[in-house]
Structures are given as C-alpha cells and as structure tokens.
Amino acid sequence: MGTTENVDAVRRLEAAYGAREYDTVRSILAADVACHTPGSDMMPPAVDGCIAANEGGFTAYPDKVTEVLDIFGEGDRVVSHVRMTGTNQGGLPWMGIEPNGNAIDTDWIQISRHAGDGTILETWAQMDTPKMLVQLGAMPAPEGM
C-alpha cells in the first residue's frame, strides 16, 4: 500500500492551502472529494468548498499559519493533527464576530481516504471550534478555565 505516498499527499495539501496554491490543491483532491466536516454542508460541494473554506480562513485571519503536529496512516487512510494560529483581522461575519485583533490557536484532526495514486477521495475532520470561539470572545470560557 502507498501509505508513505498518502502521508506525503496530505503534507503537500496542507502546504498548498498555506500558500494558496489552488492548482496544487486541485491536483491532490479528487474533483468530487466528499468532505464530512461539521459545517461543510454550508459550503459549496467538493473541492470548491475546500478552497472556499481555506479562503474564508485567510479572510478572518490574514496571517493564518498551520503546522502538522502529528501524521500517520494505515492502508488507504491518513490521520493528520493540524494546529492553526492567526489574528482575527477580518472577522467571521456569519457568526456575528467583528475583527478584534484577538489571537487564535486551535487544532483539528482529519482522516483522509486515498486512491491508489494518493489522490484524496474523502475526508472526515473535527476542529476545536469551542476553543477558537472562546479566544475570539464569542463564547464564555467553560467552567474551570
């Protein structure tokens, strides 16, 4: 199995999102990639939605940086743990959040399913959204924090 190639594809995808190199993104994601991330039903379908989500991130946080903290795979699937940092200079209008200069530091875990040539066919991700909303001042800190 091409686990090494699949891991490499995820690393190249994260780098391409960071550099906003969307030809590279489209070469790694299948055109009809199925994304099972909470909130993806609010985005355009497939690869266009992935690019729109990344652009939305740069609109909110123009200095957005991601870092792959952990990555491994088995068979046709890869697990990646990614940290995202940035500064809220653009706001998240759909959540009623104004630009406020707050720093965010959050993370997500993604599982991707790959074709034999490494192309990503399907993704499942969970992002630590509550942590980000607390950092943005949009949600009260939970008890004990």
């Binding site: 686990t3 909470p38 952990d70 491994f72 795979g73 088995e74 068979g75 699937r77 890869v78 697990v79 743990h81 209008p93 959540m95 009623g96 959040i97 104004e98 993370d107 997500w108 875990i109 993604q110 599982i111 499942w124 991700a125 969970q126 992002m127 630590d128 959204t129 509550p130 909303l133 949009a138 949600m139 009260p140 800190a141 939970p142 008890e143 004990g144 924090m145």
Partner: protein, 146 residues
C-alpha cells in the same frame, strides 16, 4: 511487544467496556500511571486520575450513552478512532449546564499512544461539541454585529 493490531483491539475494548458498559476498572488497568491527556476537559489536570473521573462523569451525565466506532487506523504505537456518541442529555451536557432531556449525536476523532507493553500512555481528541450543543439548543446566540 504490542502490535498496532493489539493496540487497535485495546481501543475497541476500552470504548466498549468503559464508555458503553461503565466498566471503569478496565480503564484503571489499561491507562499507564504516566498517562497524559493532551486535550483534557477544561479545568482538568489531564492525568490518569482525571481521565478516570471524566469517564465516570460522562456516564453519570448521559447514562444511556453509546459510542459507535466508525473507523480505526493503527500505525506504529498510535491508534486513531473515529466515532459517534449518541445519548440523552439527562444530567447536563457539561458541568454547570442545565439538563435538556433531549437526544444528541456527537462525532469524535481520538488518537491514543501505547507503550511496548500495550498500556495507553497518551491521548488527544477533538469532538463536535458545537454540533451537539446545537442539537440540545445550548448554543449562545451570536453576538449582535454592530
């Protein structure tokens, strides 16, 4: 030496026995004394004792809780589990939240690290807390855009 398949089987057993059946003693047996939770509940120490307390508390908050395993990926000393937790919000979704009595379904991805003897040494995870709170009507309304 515990193989990735052994560790994957341990994760399945941990979820079934501890979370679905309430057999907290199995967690006592499988979590290493040096266990570190890198994504502990707010205010929690993230050690073995606090992880065991969290398992107990989750069972108390949602007595009918059930976790279905959707996928398991094991490589080296790590195992990722993608799962869906369902249950009825009986005693409060989180500490300090009023019980709603409503059913909820929450997606999760957890990653566990094991030592050579097959003991669980580390954990991190991310949960669709916003999705579940939305189903329970617990999300604060977005602030007014001025």
């Amino acid at each position: 030496m515990a193989t990735p398949q052994d560790n994957a089987a341990t994760c399945r057993e941990l979820i079934q026995r501890v979370m679905n059946e309430g057999d907290i003693a199995f967690a006592e047996k499988i979590l290493a004394e040096s266990f570190v939770d890198h994504s502990p509940m707010p205010g929690s120490a993230g050690d073995k004792a606090s992880a065991i307390s969290m398992f107990t508390m989750m069972r108390e908050q949602t007595p009918d809780m059930h976790i279905d395993i959707d996928d398991v990926i094991a490589d080296g000393n790590k195992v990722a589990v993608r799962s869906t937790m369902t249950g009825t919000d009986t005693n409060g979704f989180m500490q300090g939240m009023p019980p709603t009595g409503k059913p909820f379904s929450m997606g999760a991805i957890d990653v566990m690290t094991f030592d050579e003897g097959g003991m669980n040494t580390e954990h991190y995870g991310v949960y669709d807390i916003m999705g579940a709170m939305g189903q329970l009507g617990l999300l604060p309304p977005p602030p007014e855009a001025s």
